[in-house]
Assembly symmetry: C2
């Protein structure tokens, strides 16, 4: 309660927007049994958006150590031991230049290492350094812990299903992601 925040902590509109909605969805706080598809989709849209929106704001707080979004890239590099910059760009829908600069930053911080590929002399194979792995490990641990905490009260079944839904949602590919600003 640091500040006066009368309206809110949660995204779902306190008051169902009267009219002006394109859908009859009144954004129920908890989806009742007979929720029509449109309503559910609307809620999903809004909630995912809310998540994405807040995620950015919260990011800095979680690992201020890694000053960059490039934490993600580092994670990816680690995940598949050794990858090219282009892979990262493709995977995250980023421009080559962006990735290039991010990597430059990571390298300057001593978190990644680039090695020329023996075969193709154009590519550089990226590897996390020791420091990179360490940073990554703690960051990951922190984040996972935070999620564990947040999801503490959930039943195992719900967790599994939620995870499943998310996988399914994301599996559709990044192309047409209609998400939040």
């Amino acid at each position: 309660m640091s500040d006066a925040r009368p309206d809110a902590t949660t995204e779902p509109p306190a008051t169902p927007p009267p009219g002006a909605r394109t859908t009859p969805a009144d954004a129920p706080e908890t989806a009742p049994p007979g929720t029509p598809r449109e309503a559910s989709v609307d809620v999903i849209q809004r909630e995912l958006t809310a998540f994405a929106r807040r995620a950015r704001a919260a990011a800095a707080r979680v690992h201020p150590e890694i000053p960059l979004v490039s934490y993600t890239l580092l994670a990816h590099i680690e995940e598949r031991r050794g990858c090219r910059a282009t892979d990262l760009a493709a995977h995250y829908l980023l421009d080559k230049s962006t990735v290039s600069r991010q990597l430059a930053g990571l390298e300057k911080l001593g978190l990644v290492e680039r090695r020329p590929a023996p075969e193709d002399h154009r590519v550089q194979v990226l590897h996390p350094t020791e420091a990179g792995l360490a940073v990554l490990a703690t960051a990951q641990a922190n984040r996972l812990a935070a999620y564990q905490e947040r999801l503490r009260d959930w039943s195992g079944e719900d967790l599994a299903r939620f995870a499943d839904y998310l996988l399914r949602y994301n599996a559709a590919g990044p192309e047409d992601l209609p998400a939040s600003p």
Copy 2:
């Protein structure tokens, strides 16, 4: 267009991860029935993160009309007819200055209107203009349509449950959101 993203799903796993863990976008795994809590949480964490990351990238494509992230703010203003700038800042964990500038942009585009409050002369009550409402309606429609498309194959039950999970997840409040970098 020589995009940097020919495909995000086809990138060759330069070195396939030895473990069971793959990247969501590459290998949509399905959470097996007996998934332990930790695994589920891990998946949830990763998938939500992935979503957040991609969301930003996709944002511009969806509504290029509204050049700003401020679409969100506009939506919020509309949602609760009339609100103050500080509310927005608090709600989205943004700095006052950021909100101020975003609003300036929206105003310059003729999408919002600020009126001094009769009572308190410090505050300005924000209202969407006609144009603002229109823009918002179409943007919302587009986005919803995109989601509908993406979720086309889902059963009504799954949609309802997914929506429910998201609500539940987000309801915990923005404070400790441990999300993606």
